[in-house]
Symmetry: C2
Subunit: 645 residues, 2 copies
C-alpha cells in the first residue's frame, strides 16, 4: 500500500462565529427536530416511520413497512450528524438516545449480518434482486459512514461491529468469485463508506470491495440488464433507458464527462479519489482529475451548485448552466465538498480547496434557513416566484424553503456536513500540515510524535485577517502549508509580527512555511477581501453581459426585499463604486454590498417592443450573501446581474 495524504487532524473544536452558529442550529434545531420526525411526532408532517421500521424488523413492533425504499438512510444520517455533533459538544442524553437506536439496529440485524428494514419486513425473499433501483447498498453505505463517525466520536464499538458484520456479509454476496453477484449499487454511496470502514478497521477486504464496485460498474454484459432479466422486469428504465443516470453507461475509468444524477455521480467520484489515494491507482487518479475538471470548469454554478437539470436531478452538458431552471440540489453541493476533500488528499492544490470553500459558503448552506427550520432541496440562482407558481417546468424551483420533504435527503445531509465542518479545515501528510479553510478553531495534531496545538482566529468570511497560533509541546520542525484562495490578491503573511516574501514559497496555491515551531509562534495571514465582479466563460450563454458579485468566498445576490421587483431591470455599470459594510443586525450579521446602479425606466414603456431607446435612472442596489437569501420577505432573487451597456 502506498502511503497517502490523509486527514489525520482531529479533536477540532470550532470556536468560529460563523460556523459556530450553524453548529448550534444543527445541535439545537435540526438534530432534535429530525429525531421527532424519525419517530413520527411532527404534527402535520407525513410520517417518516424510519424508527418504527427498525422496530418491526427487530420483531418488537407489529405493522407494515412504510416510507421510501431508502428510509433507513434517514436514521443513518441522523446518527452520523449526532456523532459529529458530540465531537464538538458532548451531550449525554443525546448519546444515550443514539446508543438506544444503535442497539435497536443490532436487534434488527439478521443472523447473517443483513440489515435493511425494507427487505426484512416487506420482501424478505427478494434481497439483492434490484440493486439498480432499491437502494440496499446505498442504505448500507450511510449506516457504515454513521458507524465510523460514531466510533471516532465516542470510541464505542457496537455500531462499528454491527456494520462490519453487514459489510462482511455484503462482501460474501458481491465480488469477482464465481458464485457471487457481479453487481454494484444503483445509487453510489457504499464505495466511499467502505473506504472509511477500511480506515478505522485496517481491513483491506473493505477497500477491495469498494474497488470492486467501482471497477465492475458499466461493464458489459450490463449487470442492471442481467438482474432485470432475472426478476422478469420488462419495463424500460425511466431515464430514457439510459444508464448514464447511474454513471453506469461505460466503465468508470473511461468516463470523461459528468453525467446523470449529480449526487450519485459525485459520491462515486469521491470514492474514486479515495481509492486512487489509498491504493496509488494512477488510472483512477487521472479519471478523477478529468471528471473534476469537467465538473468544476464546465458544469458548476458560481455558487458551487451542480446538476443543472430537474430531469434525473442530473448534470446536463458542458456550459449549460441556466440560472432559473437549475436543480443544484443541496445534497449535490454537499457531495462536491466531500469530493474536493478527497482530491486534496490526492494532491494539495488550492483549486480543490477553492471549490470546497465556494460550496461550503454558498451552495450548501443556502439549503437551510438561518434558524435551521426550513430547507431548499433546489438552490436556483434566479427566482421569480410567479414563474415557480405558474410554470410547470419551474415548479421544482421553490420560491421559499419548505419545512421538510417527503424525500428528506437534504436536511440530514446538511446536518452531518455542518456538524463535521472541523474535518475539512486541515489535512496532514507526515510533516506537512495543510490549512485548507479559515475559521476559528482549536485543534491538536501530532507531528513526528509531538503534540501540536493549533489555534486559529478569524472573522472569516467577513474579514480576511487570520491568526494561527502554533503551540507544540516542544520545539518541532514541520511545514505549515497555508492556502491562498484564488480570490485573494495581494495576500500577506507575517510570522510573529514580521512580514516576509511568501511568494517564492507558494506551490499549487499553498504557502509552505517550514521552520522549527515553538510555543506561541503566530502566523498572521491577511487575505484582502475586495468586491469582485465575476464573469462567466462566454460559452455559458445565460450569463453573457452579466456579473456576479463576490467578496472573499461569499457570492452575493439581489433580493426584491432590499431592492424592488423586476431585478433584471437593474443594470450595474462596470465602474460603479461598490462598498462593503458589515451589518450586525441583518441576517445574523453579514457584510452587505451597496452601490449606485442604474435601472431601466419602466414608466415610459407602453408597449411590449419598440426601437431601441434606453432610459435609465440611478438607483441604489444592495446585495446580500446568496446563502442567506429568503430569510425575510419572499420575492425575486438573482445572482447574475445585468451590466450597464
Amino acid at each position: 500500500m502506498k502511503k497517502t495524504i490523509e486527514n489525520k487532524a482531529n479533536k477540532t473544536q470550532i470556536t468560529d462565529k460563523f460556523w459556530g452558529h450553524y453548529l448550534e442550529v444543527v445541535r439545537d434545531q435540526v438534530i432534535p427536530y429530525q429525531w421527532e420526525a424519525l419517530n413520527d411526532r411532527i404534527p402535520g408532517a407525513s410520517p417518516s416511520h424510519a424508527i418504527e421500521n427498525f422496530k418491526i424488523a427487530a420483531g418488537e413492533a407489529e405493522g407494515e413497512y412504510y416510507g421510501m425504499v431508502f428510509q433507513d438512510s434517514d436514521v443513518a444520517k441522523w446518527l452520523e450528524a449526532v456523532a459529529f455533533s458530540l465531537e464538538n459538544h458532548p451531550n449525554e442524553e443525546l448519546e444515550r438516545t443514539a446508543d438506544e437506536v444503535i442497539a435497536l439496529l443490532g436487534r434488527a440485524q439478521g443472523e447473517d449480518g443483513y440489515l435493511n428494514t425494507y427487505y426484512t419486513v416487506k420482501e424478505p425473499n427478494k434481497r439483492w434482486t434490484n440493486v439498480r433501483d432499491n437502494h440496499e447498498l446505498y442504505c448500507a453505505g450511510h449506516l457504515i459512514e454513521a458507524a465510523v463517525a460514531y466510533f471516532k466520536a465516542t470510541g464505542k464499538r457496537e455500531f462499528l461491529d454491527i456494520m462490519s458484520r453487514y459489510a462482511d456479509y455484503i462482501d460474501n454476496v458481491f465480488g469477482p468469485e464465481e458464485k457471487k453477484l457481479k453487481g454494484y449499487p444503483g445509487h453510489q454511496e457504499i464505495e466511499l463508506a467502505l473506504v472509511k470502514l477500511y480506515e478505522v478497521t485496517n481491513n483491506e477486504k473493505y477497500l477491495n470491495l469498494s474497488k470492486y464496485f467501482i471497477d465492475e460498474r458499466g461493464k458489459q454484459p450490463h449487470y442492471f440488464d442481467i438482474e432485470k432479466k432475472n426478476r422478469e422486469d420488462e419495463r424500460p428504465f425511466w431515464f430514457n433507458n439510459d444508464y448514464a443516470y447511474h454513471q453506469a453507461h461505460q466503465p468508470v475509468r473511461e468516463q470523461d464527462n459528468a453525467v446523470g444524477h449529480a449526487v450519485r455521480a459525485t459520491y462515486m467520484y469521491t470514492a474514486m479519489a479515495d481509492l486512487a489515494a489509498k491504493i496509488g491507482d494512477e488510472e483512477l487518479k487521472k479519471a478523477s482529475e478529468r471528471l473534476w475538471e469537467n465538473v468544476t470548469q464546465k458544469q458548476m454554478y458560481v455558487t458551487g451548485g451542480i446538476g443543472s437539470m430537474v430531469f434525473g436531478e442530473a448534470f446536463s452538458f458542458d456550459y449549460d448552466l441556466p440560472n432559473d431552471l437549475s436543480y443544484t440540489e443541496t445534497c449535490a453541493s454537499i457531495a462536491l465538498v466531500f469530493w474536493a476533500n478527497r482530491m486534496l488528499n490526492l494532491e494539495a492544490n488550492s483549486k480543490y480547496a477553492d471549490v470546497m470553500e465556494t460550496a461550503l459558503y454558498n451552495g450548501t448552506i443556502s439549503g437551510m434557513d438561518l434558524d435551521g427550520k426550513k430547507f431548499f432541496y433546489v438552490n436556483p440562482l434566479e427566482v421569480l416566484p410567479e414563474a415557480s407558481e405558474k410554470r410547470n417546468d419551474k415548479k421544482h424551483v421553490k420560491a421559499v424553503r419548505q419545512p421538510w420533504f417527503g424525500c428528506a435527503c437534504c436536511p440530514p445531509n446538511l446536518a452531518r456536513l455542518i456538524a463535521s465542518i472541523g474535518h475539512y479545515i486541515y489535512s496532514q501528510k507526515e510533516k506537512e500540515l495543510f490549512v485548507h479553510l479559515y475559521m476559528g478553531n482549536e485543534t491538536t495534531v501530532e507531528v513526528d510524535g509531538t503534540q501540536v496545538q493549533v489555534i486559529q482566529k478569524t472573522d472569516y468570511p467577513w474579514d480576511g485577517n487570520v491568526s494561527i497560533q502554533i503551540n507544540p509541546e516542544k520545539e518541532q520542525g514541520f511545514t505549515l502549508a497555508l492556502r491562498i484562495p484564488g480570490w485573494a490578491k495581494g495576500a500577506t503573511v507575517k510570522i510573529n509580527g514580521e512580514g516576509f516574501d511568501h511568494i517564492p514559497l507558494i506551490k499549487n496555491g499553498y504557502v509552505y512555511i517550514n521552520r522549527k515551531w515553538k510555543a506561541e509562534d503566530t502566523v498572521e495571514l491577511v487575505l484582502p477581501m475586495v468586491i469582485e465582479r465575476i464573469q462567466s466563460n462566454p460559452q455559458v450563454r445565460q450569463n453573457v453581459g452579466k456579473v456576479a458579485l463576490q467578496r472573499g468566498p461569499i457570492v452575493y445576490c439581489l433580493e426584491q426585499v432590499d431592492n424592488d421587483e423586476n431585478l433584471h431591470g437593474f443594470l450595474l455599470p462596470r465602474d460603479a463604486e461598490l462598498t462593503a459594510e458589515f451589518v450586525p443586525d441583518l441576517l445574523d450579521g453579514v457584510v452587505v454590498i451597496s452601490g449606485e446602479a442604474e435601472r431601466i425606466v419602466e414608466a415610459d414603456w407602453n408597449s411590449l417592443y419598440r426601437p431601441v431607446s434606453d432610459q435609465t435612472t440611478p438607483v441604489q442596489i444592495k446585495a446580500v450573501p446568496y446563502y442567506a437569501w429568503c430569510n425575510r420577505e419572499p420575492g425575486e432573487m438573482i445572482v447574475w446581474i445585468n451590466e450597464k451597456r
Copy 2:
C-alpha cells in the same frame, strides 16, 4: 342587427412573388402530400386513417377506428385548404377528389345529422358525454369552416348542406332550453365556424348557438364537472385540475388575461370578436379588446408567436417570454392572424393589422420549410441543438423541422392559412375600402353598385414601394384607407404621381383617401424599410441587454451556418452600421442584414469564472429572416442578440 364591418372583398388573385411561392408550395406540395397522408400512403409515416375512418363510418369499409379523437379535423382542414387553393388556382382533378370526399362525408353522416367518425364507429352510445376532452364540437367546427370555404370557392352546396344539417342537430342538443345540454366545447373552434355559417346562410340560429357556447362557458355549476359526474369519471383533470386550460375557469366576458392552451384561447377570442361585431355586443367587444391588449402587449413574442409554455401548450403569465423554452405553436400564431382579422372588423386600427402582419411574415410561416416538406410545431426564438437533444425540459424545441406529426394539426392549418392569404388583404365597410396588407394581387370589389378593380404591385416584404391602381368600371367616389405599418417612419403617398401631405388624413394608422376614383388612378405608397434594433419591455427579463433586428415586417435571426457557434458571444454595438442587401439565390431570395459586430474572445478563457476582463474581437455578422431559418445546415439560432456593453 347592427350593420358591421365585413370582409366583402373576394375574387382576389395573388400575383405576389413572396406569397405566390407559398401558394405554389401549398398547391404542389402540401395539399398532395397531405392527401396521401390522409389515405395512409406515406411510406414510413404512421397511418392517419382519417379517410378510412369515414369509410368505416359510412359502412363502406370494415375495421376499427384509428387515430386521435380529432382525426376528422385533418380531413376538414385539407378540404378547407383545397377550397382556398381552388379560388386562386382552379384544378378540376383536385375539385373532383374533394367532391368525392364530401360525398363520403355525406354517406358517413347519421340520419339525425350527426357526423363524427370516432363516436359513430367506436362509441356510438357515448356521443356528447365528454365534450371537455373529446373534440366532437371541435371537429364539427373545422368541418363547418371547410364547408363554408368550399361553398364560397365553388358555389357547390352539398358540403354546406351536410354541415348545416349537422349544425342544426347540434343546435338541438345544446342550448338554454330545458332538455338540452348546457355544454360547450373543450377545444373552442365551432364558435367561429358557426359565425361563418351564419354569414353564408343568414340563419341566425347559428349565430345564437355560437353566442350560447361563448356565454355558457365557465359558468357555475361547471358543465365539465356535471358531465364528468354523469360519466362517473373520478380522474382529476391533468392540467393541475385547472379549467383555465380551456379558458373555462370563469365566464368569458369577465376574462382579462390570456390563460391556458393558446390555440383554444385564440380561436375563442376570434369568435368573441366576430360575435361582438355581428351582434353589436359592447361587452364582448370590451372583453376582446382587453384580451388583445394582454396577449399582444404582454404575452407575445416579437415574431408573433404566442404560448410560452410547453405544459398545456399554454400562455404562462405577463412578460414571461423565455426564448429557449417557448412553445409558440405554429397553430397559435395562425389563430392570432384569425383574431387580428376579426378585430379589424370591429375597428380599423393598424395595431391589429400590425400584429397580423408580424405573425404572417414570421411566426406562422416559420412553421414550414421553404419546400413545404417539413414542419415546426414549436417555433422557438433560440435554439441550441445540444439543449434540445439533452435537456428533457427542452425536448419540445426541435432543432430541425419534422416531416409530419402524430398530432398533425399545424401543417394543414398552415396550408389553409396560406391558401386563404388573399382574404386578409382588404376589408370593406360600405364606401370605405381598407388595405391592411401589401402584396401583389388583383381584386374586384363592389362599391355602391360599382365594380372596382384594384391592382396592387409591390416587392414586399423586401421593398416598401407599393403601387395600387384603382379601376372602377365608372367614376366612383369612395375612401381608400391605406394602413401605415407601425414600423414605417416617413411614409409618403402619391396619387397619379403627385405627392401630398397625408398626415392629416391618418386615423388609427390608416390614411383615409376619399375621392372620385376613375380608371387607372394610381396610388403610390412608399414605406421606408430601415433596419431597426428592437428592444423588449424591460419586464421581459430574458431580453434585457438584447436587441432583435427587424426590417419592414421581417424579424431577423442569426444562424450558426452564417456566423459561428456560440451565437451568444456575438455582441452588437448600438452604433454598428448594418446594411441590407437582397440576395436572390439565398433562401429563395431574401434581404440579408450584415454588419460588423464584436465577439467575446473565447481563446483567452481557461476557466469557468473569473473577474471581469472583456476581450472582444471584430466579427462580421449576417442575419437572415427568422421565417427562413433552418433551411440549410442545422445549428444554433437566436433572434435576440446581445448588445455590446
